[in-house]
């Protein structure tokens, strides 16, 4: 297993591919690192946690997620004070008892020869910023389905509690704001001691008589800054005091899929994913109002239709047939969904605590470069091209594809297709020569 590695070059043909892989430097020795985490605890550089979709913080030396395999830590070279910014640091190297930190580690180039290749490069989620009317990135209480997944997770950034992101942000900002107010107050104290009078008293006189002199002007500026910081803090505290779980949640379906502006294809898994998240949101909070707004619910696959019905009948989800027009925001950060009720033919709105966008499945950014490396064709939607009669065979013999690299699909289908691709690779590698040629000819 080569984690943190990428394929760089491919030569040869079926039965004898020669592949060059770049194993990127982790700056941590995989053989020595025990995964204890002491380094990350002491690392002074805080970065945004990609695994938790930026809703939690990580350190510049990190493990992608707690149960990740391999459990070796990795230094984010760009963020690291020593590697990225050229400063003196080395805290991790001093704290590591195993002596695993190696700031001088370099990328390794590995050559391997293989008989067959399976592409399982997955997908990328649609960037919801491309639909500005839904407000993602601008309205804090609009999140994507994968971000919401992290909120629901007991190991996620909110320990499984669903709050409005705007409230969380306000709560997380409080300590910094308090520090700033205290610092401003200390600055004022210096003036107060020097001139033996209170700041309020001075300010009243300053505004009345416009006192002259640099010190007075500076002092007045300090007073104003302290007052504005304190007012900001009081307001933020008020918001945090009123903070409550997100009770009103709505899912918008087909964000970036089944939309001629972006992707014509259906992303397959989002309907069921939304129903699942909606059910779990109701499990967490029995009083929650949960809506799913979409053109229809595409419950494809085993057990899916029953799941959809269970969502409505037993869990109390509300499905609304529509195509959401816009999400707006009120002054108290409440997002409002505007849509046309296609049954009553009138425009309606729902005020909410949280809007979840079911973002579509797009080809992975790795698809195009890999198609170039291997000389493969992609289909009209940008996924690796296959035939309906041989869904895991790419346009090149000996190279197979499975999962969302081939088309959007759910987990059971990915697993089934992965086994199918494995079987095809095994056929090619172990078949007698004529059989192998026959199996390759089919797709030729």
């Amino acid at each position: 297993m080569l984690a943190y590695s990428e394929v760089e070059k491919v030569e040869g043909d079926v039965g004898d591919f020669r592949v060059t892989v770049r194993k990127k430097a982790r700056y941590v020795d995989e053989g020595k690192c025990t995964g204890c985490g002491a380094c990350a605890e002491k690392c002074p550089t805080v970065v945004s946690d990609a695994y938790n979709m930026g809703f939690a913080n990580a350190k510049a030396i990190y493990r992608y997620f707690a149960q990740g395999i391999p459990s070796t830590y990795t230094i984010d070279a760009k963020a690291c004070r020593q590697l990225g910014q050229g400063k003196k640091c080395g805290v991790c190297a001093r704290i590591c008892q195993a002596g695993a930190i190696d700031h001088k580690q370099e990328d390794q180039i590995l050559e391997m020869s293989v008989g067959a290749v399976i592409l399982a490069t997955g997908y990328e989620l649609f960037d919801a910023r491309r639909i500005p009317e839904y407000g993602y990135g601008r309205i804090p209480n609009v999140v994507t389905a994968l971000e919401f997944e992290r909120f629901l997770s007991a190991s996620g950034p909110t320990d499984g509690h669903v709050y409005r992101p705007s409230d969380l942000k306000a709560r997380n900002a409080l300590p910094e704001m308090e520090k700033a107010v205290q610092k401003a107050a200390r600055d004022l104290e210096k003036y107060e001691q020097r001139f033996s009078r209170t700041s309020d008293d001075f300010m009243a006189q300053f505004e009345r008589e416009s006192l002259e002199g640099d010190d007075y002007v500076k002092w007045a500026a300090q007073v104003k800054e302290h007052r504005s910081l304190a007012a900001g803090l009081a307001k933020a505290k008020e918001v945090v005091e009123k903070m409550h779980g997100a009770h009103r949640i709505a899912f918008i379906q087909c964000v970036g899929s089944r939309d001629i502006r972006f992707n014509r294809h259906c992303s397959v898994f989002c309907c069921m994913h939304a129903i699942k998240e909606a059910m779990i949101a109701r499990e967490h909070d029995k009083e929650a109002e949960v809506y799913i707004l979409g053109m229809d619910i595409r419950a494809v696959g085993k057990g899916s239709e029953e799941y959809r019905v269970r969502g409505a009948k037993e869990v109390g989800l509300r499905y609304i047939r529509t195509r959401v027009a816009e999400v707006t925001e009120e002054a108290d950060r409440t997002p409002v969904i505007w849509y046309e009720d296609t049954k009553e033919r009138i425009v309606k709105k729902i005020p909410l605590d949280l809007v979840v966008l079911s973002t579509g499945c797009e080809p992975s950014p790795a698809t195009k470069p890999l198609a170039g490396l291997f000389g493969l064709e992609v289909n009209d939607f940008g996924f690796f091209k296959t035939k309906a009669s041989s869904p895991v065979d790419t346009t090149r013999p000996g190279v197979f594809v499975c999962g969302c690299a081939q088309a959007p699909m759910d987990i059971p289908e990915s697993v089934a297709q992965a086994s199918s691709a494995a079987a095809r690779a095994a056929q090619v590698l172990s078949g007698s020569e004529p059989m192998r040629l026959a199996s390759c000819k089919e797709i030729g």
Partner: protein
């Protein structure tokens, strides 16, 4: 005939394909670009239609 396989991508599909081939006795090289395997599925809390834990 070379009996090694290269699997590119360590998500649920890549892991499943690798395990199948390994069980069949082939040597598998699994290449993943991120520091840990698991892919998108590792970010999921629970999965439909059974609401079982994903990890």
């Amino acid at each position: 005939m070379n009996r090694e396989v290269l699997v590119i991508g360590g998500g649920i599909a890549g892991i499943q394909a690798s395990l199948d081939l390994a069980e069949m006795g082939f040597k598998v090289n699994l290449v993943e670009k991120l520091p840990s395997i698991g892919g998108k599925m590792s970010q999921l809390d629970k999965t439909f239609p059974t609401n079982d834990c994903a990890l």
